[in-house]
């Protein structure tokens, strides 16, 4: 029987995977995917809560907003990475470390 906890566990898993990806990937795009995972983890939570918590629709609405914003964010991020590629010929983010102190 699928209940709230299942979704929450899935959300938590996604969250952790996302963090793992963000931390470990060297490829910029992969890092972005990690971020997306984190966001979606939150979305899963929202929807699950809204569905099972017997609450109003604000959870669904929230996740919709998140999806949209994630798209926008991704767009900007990809543009920046593209730009990096044009200038440095790589999208490998730990080569972008000129601004070290």
């Amino acid at each position: 029987m699928v209940d709230l906890n299942t979704y929450l566990v899935i959300g938590a898993l996604l969250f952790s995977l996302g963090i793992f990806g963000v931390i470990t990937r060297r490829n910029g795009v992969a890092v972005l995917m990690g971020v997306e995972l984190i966001l979606n983890a939150a979305n899963v939570n929202f929807v699950a809560f809204a569905r099972f918590g017997g609450m109003d629709l604000s959870g669904h609405i929230f996740s919709l907003f998140v999806i949209i914003l994630a798209a926008a964010e991704a767009a900007v991020a990809l543009a920046i990475i593209l730009n990096i590629y044009n200038n440095m010929g790589t999208i490998n983010i730990d080569e972008a470390d000129q601004l070290k102190q």
Binding site: A41, A48, G59, F62, L69, A77, I84
Partner: protein
């Protein structure tokens, strides 16, 4: 209140939106060479917006757009801050050599858009709106930071910023989701109530979610340990953008932070709202106090090391975030009052310092402090005002900075003896900060040859510097007007709950 009725309260924001639209279209029309003229449009729009904002005097805290945002004096004063900051920065950008030869049409447009985002941050009372506004501001900041497409440093700054930002907003979002799960609502006003009805069982979840949200806010206002992006981004981004980021989004972040914590935990009196009983044993005040202490200390200590004036100001802005944060844990009228007051003062002195840095780098082509030597004699104008801003940032009378600091300490002292240690750390930090701020003055006056080319900067930049310097001094001597204004704008806010 329904959407339609809300429109009338939303006039200033609408003006901003209109500005953005007009600017976009105009930018399409203009050729590359004239693209900078968009700036004038934006300025015009901002002026109109501020005018309408001036006209709209909210009688009370009015929730609009289905209780997603409110119109109240608190948000109003912040909106003024945003408008003013943007106004100044746009002017600065027009006089900055860095942005010469780049198509700046969208640049100004984005700034205008950012105003919208920030004023939403200042006035949102719904988690959705909170997230939405933060994201608007963040995304625009990413673009601005990376605006100099040709420069690798700028790109890199943008990249780091975007990843860092996305990541922490992700954390915050997850926290929000947990909070939502606990309370079943996204409305701040209801949150407070339903949290207090929670049993201690949900203590852990609540704590985790709050910490995650704290990470999100902390990233926005650059609190240690969520500040790591700041130096790199500030250094990489174009100077005007750095100036902008170090003031406006910080202010917005604090507006949000204050509203959030006050709505959730605050009743004007710390430690006795039902919420505190709800999460017993979670020392929010101590956490915030420690964060404040650490933030200002780290900011100051690192700033001592900086050679580049931009980085110096960047780190000092971290330190100032720490000072401002001191007011939050008090959760009292004085606390909020001091914060707002300080932010306004801070705007003047920080932007002033940055604009001078720009003038200097335009004139003498350097951002390295050691190369400022003798400027105090070569160009008394620059020297004098730089000194004024440095003193004000340090917080030495008779400058506005001192008054701001004094209000913060006053709030702490009045808050009770559990805050005294923080106050003492605060004053000691201002002593530390004296050292590196004075280094700038020292280099300008005590070193270097004293040949006089008597450089006096041109009209616009001079005007900006004056516009920043006069308040920095005047509010140090006669700040009644400002004090009363801030006071009046907090009435309803505190009374709100």
């Amino acid at each position: 209140m329904g959407n339609i009725q809300s429109i009338s309260y939303f006039l200033p924001e609408l003006m901003v939106i209109a500005t953005v639209v007009v600017a976009l279209i105009a930018d399409l029309v203009y050729s590359d060479r004239n693209s900078y003229k968009v700036g004038y449009l934006v300025i015009a729009g901002l002026v109109v917006a501020s005018f309408t904002l001036w006209l709209s005097l909210p009688e009370e805290t009015t929730p609009i757009f289905l209780n997603t945002i409110v119109v109240d004096p608190f948000s109003r004063i912040f909106k003024f801050v945003f408008l003013l900051a943007t106004f100044i920065v746009v002017l600065m950008s027009m006089n900055s050599d860095e942005l010469k030869g780049v198509r700046t049409g969208e640049y100004y447009t984005l700034m205008a858009a950012m105003v919208l985002g920030m004023s939403l941050m200042a006035s949102s009372v719904d988690l959705i709106m909170v997230y939405l506004s933060i994201e608007i501001v963040s995304i625009i900041s990413f673009i601005l930071a990376g605006y100099l497409r040709a420069q690798v440093r700028s790109n890199e700054a943008a990249l780091k910023y975007v990843i860092y930002g996305a990541f922490s907003s992700g954390l915050m979002l997850y926290g929000l989701s947990l909070l939502y799960g606990l309370t079943g609502t996204t409305k701040l006003f209801q949150l407070s109530g339903s949290i207090s009805s929670l049993g201690p069982g949900s203590n852990l979840t609540l704590t985790v979610s709050t910490i995650l949200m704290l990470a999100g806010f902390g990233y926005k206002v650059a609190i240690v340990p969520f500040h790591f992006w700041t130096p790199d981004v500030y250094e990489g981004a174009p100077t005007p953008v750095t100036a902008y980021l170090s003031v406006a989004p910080k202010a917005a972040g604090f507006a949000l932070l204050i509203r959030f914590f006050n709505t959730l935990f605050g009743t004007g009196q710390p430690l006795n709202s039902p919420v505190w009983q709800a999460m017993e044993g979670v020392p929010w005040q101590d956490i915030l106090m420690v964060l404040a202490a650490v933030t200002m200390t780290v900011g100051n200590l690192v700033a001592i090391q900086q050679k580049n004036i931009k980085r110096l100001l960047a780190y000092s802005s971290i330190a100032h975030a720490g000072y401002i944060l001191m007011g939050v844990p008090v959760l009292s009228q004085e606390g909020v009052y001091a914060i707002v007051f300080y932010i306004i003062v801070y705007l003047f002195m920080q932007l002033g310092a940055f604009s001078l840095a720009i003038v200097v780098s335009n004139r003498y082509g350097t951002e390295i402090i050691e190369e400022y030597s003798g400027i105090g004699w070569k160009s008394p104008y620059l020297g004098f005002f730089m000194a004024v801003f440095m003193f004000s940032l340090t917080g030495i009378p008779p400058t506005a900075g001192f008054i701001g600091k004094m209000y913060l300490f006053a709030a702490l002292i009045n808050g009770g003896s559990q805050f005294y240690w923080l106050a003492i750390i605060g004053v000691l930090n201002s002593v530390i900060s004296l050292y590196y701020y004075m280094r700038v003055v020292k280099v300008m006056y005590f070193q270097g040859g004293r040949e006089k080319d008597l450089y006096v900067p041109g009209g616009m930049s001079a005007a900006i510097v004056l516009a920043m310097a006069i308040p920095s001094i005047y509010f140090g001597v006669r700040w009644s007007f400002l004090a009363d204004w801030v006071n009046s704008s907090l009435k309803f806010f505190i009374a709100g709950f």
